[in-house]
Symmetry: C2
Subunit: 337 residues, 2 copies
């Protein structure tokens, strides 16, 4: 027994120089046991940790069985950057350019003409109807398997205009840690996004650890048919479901069938999701990420055209929702700056 202890000490005394030689700083070693190393030791982190401790404490008054530990996350602006423009919109614009040779008429037709001229203001001027036309033209007509490949191929080459790296490397590091922390505590983590479900599913597991069956989003209608004798799910140019605003609780109910205990969003499009989540009985947690960090990301809220946050800012205190300040609560924003 004494011999074993001595051998243990010897192994440990070996380990430290090895780790240091491998480039681990003392800080990294100290952090090894911390599941949320990118979160500052402030109020937001305390709210999160205290909530997880309460709902996982067996026999405690706030215990929630694992099956009911459903946590839902908005995607754009909550898990990854939505500035300067939604990633899926960047995809749609690139897709229109790629398809343009097959559509000579687009040179004269809005909003396609603006896209091809690289005139984003012109695209925006086409309004909601124009955007819908863009999405339909760029997202439909193929099979679901073809579409998943197109998304993957695009993500492999496209780069975030400001950060200069693949979009899938623009996820917020503190949120990746939070997703993993929740799952390690028996939570099921779901994405509930206004974005297209088939745009997210091909990479959600790789990037967020969220498998396709736990992604809820907007969708186009699809049809099952035989193409050349082979069964296929074909994407049609028609909206099936818009998973935004009051559509988010509807989507949660439709796809998950349970009321979540935790909801995390960043814009007024997430208001009803937080409202629905926190109105349930027992312990509930609503959080809104406030983009207030002009230095490390972008500072925007109530006047922004993308990810507007006004009502949420105003009502969060009275509703007991936690405002997470990017500036104050996050030690770092991305894995790489």
């Amino acid at each position: 027994m004494r011999d074993l202890r001595r051998r243990g000490r010897r192994a440990l005394s070996c380990l430290l120089p090895c780790l240091l030689a491998l480039g681990f700083s003392a800080g990294a070693i100290a952090e090894a046991g911390d599941p949320l190393p990118s979160w500052s030791d402030g109020p937001a982190r305390q709210v999160l940790v205290s909530f997880v401790e309460r709902v996982t404490k067996e026999g405690g008054p706030d215990f929630v069985p694992p099956a009911e530990r459903v946590a839902v996350f908005d995607n754009d602006g909550t898990l990854w950057s939505e500035q300067p423009l939604y990633v899926q919109l960047a995809f749609a614009l690139d897709r229109v350019k790629a398809l343009a040779p097959e559509h000579p008429e687009w040179k004269e037709k809005e909003p396609f003409a603006s896209v091809l001229r690289g005139d984003l203001a012109g695209v925006a001027a086409s309004g909601e109807h124009g955007l819908l036309e863009l999405v339909m033209a760029s997202h439909a007509g193929n099979t679901s398997e073809e579409f998943a490949r197109i998304v993957e191929d695009w993500l492999a080459t496209a780069r975030h205009p400001k950060l200069g790296r693949p979009y899938t490397e623009c996820a917020y590091q503190p949120m990746l840690e939070l997703l993993a922390y929740l799952r390690a505590n028996g939570f099921q983590t779901f994405i509930v996004s206004g974005g297209g479900v088939e745009f997210m599913r091909p990479w959600s597991e790789r990037v967020y650890g969220v498998p396709p069956e736990r992604v809820v989003g907007s969708s186009v209608q699809t049809r099952y048919e035989l193409r050349g004798g082979k069964p296929a799910i074909v994407r049609l140019p028609a909206v099936d479901f818009i998973d935004d605003k009051a559509g988010k609780p509807v989507g949660i109910h439709k796809f998950i069938g349970r009321r979540p205990v935790l909801a995390f969003g960043n814009s007024d499009g997430d208001f009803e999701m937080l409202e629905w989540t926190t109105a349930g009985p027992g312990p509930r947690l609503g959080l809104l990420l406030h983009h207030d960090d002009a230095e490390r990301e972008v500072a925007y809220d109530r006047t922004s055209s993308v990810g507007r946050l006004g009502r949420g800012l105003d009502e969060a205190p009275a509703r007991g929702w936690t405002l997470v300040s990017m500036k104050r609560d996050w030690k770092r924003v991305f894995e790489r700056p």
Copy 2:
């Protein structure tokens, strides 16, 4: 060490008489390690066990990672009895009777008048449109939480007309064993049913071990609204999605987002689900339960108005689908006869 071994032998020699005294037969003891005790040792069981062994064998040519082991099951006629009539139709009829005092006009109006007279033939004569009217009148108008309670209350008192016990005790015992066997081997088991998703979710976990978020079914449209200041999901009298026939692969794609590796159905309404599942690359398994046991259940297939199985019977051999004979492949049908 020798002492430990002796103690182990002594404990074992004690155990056997104890078990026998408690009423365990030698057969039950032998079966304790068998995950499928209600399945006869025939071809269907062999196909199932061999498939599970192949896809779970790490390093083997047919290995499927746990995340992709998605198995989908029809409900009516596959997991529980659909004869003499769909359980959900029995619910709708009882619900119309319960609501009748609030609707004096139903006494004169078909198909309600037939329901109130107990005239099933009259109900059937109202056709698909009449049935839809029945379902809408009996399934909408309330909130999702109210509806879940109504379903639970009904299930607590309603009895299967032939078996004389709660419907939730009319699940097929071999299928319960199969669901548990698949989950024990890392499969995710989903229900993909033509029945209403909100009719199944309240009890699917208790009866089948399938949680609400793994139930796919038909649905009515819902709307998020504040009722007396409290958020609610309100059920509207309009169809949202019909999860039957070619709708099943669409539902699988929409709600699960992965192609299953195993699909189990019993009627031609499941044909496309099996077709979609087994057309994928790698190991795939399609199964159809053939109700050929008039003695222990009901014998029906190609001419039945409920759960018709014609095309599936004809094409199963050429498509490599396994026909499971209730008569030949199941030692028992229900937990209690």
